[in-house]
């Protein structure tokens, strides 16, 4: 078990070399920054997020005879949203049917699909009446009138896809802004819940997790770092002459290299955690 002695030696040397340790801890962060600039979205993240909107809302006729469709209103509002201090839209919206929206998600043409329920407008009107009637803050039940009247927006997508996560967080923020705007127009007090959202996975994609998508990258990253770490160790041993001393002993090349790699997992876990 000579490789265990080599591994133990390497680990002790690594932990006791404070300067080396500092750089070892810093290296993954440095790599992360480089990789993020090279392949990530840093510096160029002001791009519209593609989403599919399925508007099932049929609208509602108010007592004064005017017809409003809060589903269309919400969709138009989202279309007009822009990144702060830029002319770039937050969303690139494709209005389509529910079946086509799912296909678009599966093909990753869009990050997610947003389904606006049929009674969305009615629920908004009910909400307005409730708020004006009570005039106080508190939880408000939105499904008050009929069983099919709901303000619950359904967001569907591939939960393991990073684009889904990004678009979901932006969309949630947009829903919150819209809700604030509507309440402001009603002159009411903000209830705790107004427009609800429900996040669902698209059938067939739930088995994939975020780990499944980043695992290959992590493995490549770990191999890259492992090889650089063993090479650095080898160089140090050659320079100090200790490799010659080891070669004179009964140690084999396998013992040395396997021992060098063996102590690595601890560091690979640390490094991969950044990747």
């Amino acid at each position: 078990m000579k490789f265990m002695s080599i591994a133990s030696k390497d680990l002790k040397e690594l932990l006791r070399d404070r300067r080396g340790l500092f750089f070892l801890l810093l290296l993954p962060i440095f790599f992360m920054l480089i990789f993020s600039f090279a392949f990530g979205t840093m510096g160029q993240n002001n791009e519209p997020n593609s989403i599919a909107v399925v508007n099932l809302d049929t609208g509602v006729t108010l007592p004064n005879g005017t017809t409003v469709n809060y589903g269309d209103n919400f969709t138009d509002t989202m279309k007009g949203l822009k990144y702060q201090d830029t002319d770039v839209n937050l969303f690139n919206i494709t209005q389509t049917s529910e079946a086509n929206a799912s296909n678009l998600v599966k093909q990753r043409n869009v990050d997610l699909e947003l389904i606006i329920p049929a009674g969305f407008s009615q629920s908004m009107v009910d909400m307005a009446q409730t708020v004006q009637g009570t005039g106080s803050a508190g939880a408000v039940t939105l499904n008050s009138s009929t069983s099919n009247v709901t303000s619950k927006l359904i967001i569907r997508g591939d939960k393991g896809y990073s684009g889904f996560g990004t678009s979901l967080s932006i969309l949630t923020g947009a829903v919150g802004s819209y809700q604030d705007g509507v309440i402001g127009a009603m002159g009411g007090v903000e209830p705790q819940e107004f427009i609800q959202t429900s996040v669902e996975g698209i059938p067939g994609t739930q088995s994939f997790t975020a780990f499944d998508y980043i695992a290959p990258g992590m493995m490549v990253f770990a191999i890259l770092l492992l090889s650089t770490s063993v090479a650095a160790m080898l160089t140090k041993e050659v320079e100090s002459g200790t490799l010659r001393r080891l070669k004179l002993s009964e140690m084999t090349s396998f013992d040395y290299l396997f021992g060098g790699c063996y102590h690595g997992p601890l560091w690979q876990v640390h490094r991969s955690s950044y990747s």
């Binding site: 002790k12 002459g241 001393r245 002993s249 009964e250």
Partner: protein
Amino acid sequence: MNEYVMEAQDLTKKFGDFLAVDKLNLKIRKGEVLGFLGPNGAGKTTSINMMVGLLSPSSGKVLVNNCDVEEMDKKTIGICPQELVLWENLTCNENLKLMGDMYTVPKAILANRIEKLLNDLYLTEKADTMVSNLSGGMKRRLNLAMAVIHEPEIVLLDEPSEGLDPQSRRVLWSYIRSLRDDDHKTVILTTHLMDEADRLSDRVAIIDHGKLLKLDTPKNLKKEIGEGDIIELTIPDTDTKKYVINYLETLEDTIAVVEVDGKINLRAFNAVGKLPKIVAELEKSNIRIEDLSVRQNTLEDVFIELTGTGLRE
């Protein structure tokens, strides 16, 4: 029992057109300390590297216990290199344990051996001290301990006392003697300290330009190469040195006159008897003598006689 533990037969090494070692024939006896001397670049290290199997010879071969060095058990030889080859971020104990593990020394035996080595080399108190915090002398002693942790039959010490203070040197010399006398090891010692070679070696091999010039006991070498006594003269005026050397060479029974480190060394029979005559002649020529001493021939005189005084680097 085989008398010779190691034998070099027509050992030759060429680096391109440069002949580093030229048909070296050398037999090393079991249980002796062999001093291996030579100027810088004489081919010592190349010879040693071939003898321990680190370097393949261009021609010739090395036998260790009558087996080719390539097939030798790695435990047979322990090498203490000239440079300090230690893991600086490990303690003395950890360094020794690592090398013991590399030679597959059983754990129980290893623990005892480490304890004894640290004790013999006065490092017990530093057992758990990181090597980077040791003094130069302590590192040297640990460097030696690393070479013998597996109790090799042949121990090669490459300038082991380089840069050591007299106290540490004596500890080292005492340990080298104990390797021969108590543990019956064969020791090959390369050194530039003639005093060290003289004190420790049973036989001395002097090599130059890749060739073995002499191999004998220090006593025989001094007797054979450097008969007579040495008169050392220090003449401050460099212009008159040549005149003095020429004069000394004309004296009866002069064996050799050489200039070493600014001093004129006259080796001659009945050197003491010649002193009044030399002093009178130099005074007559108005040449001032700054220092004058008479001493017995040393191994260094033999070395200089055989290899000359010219720089090799």
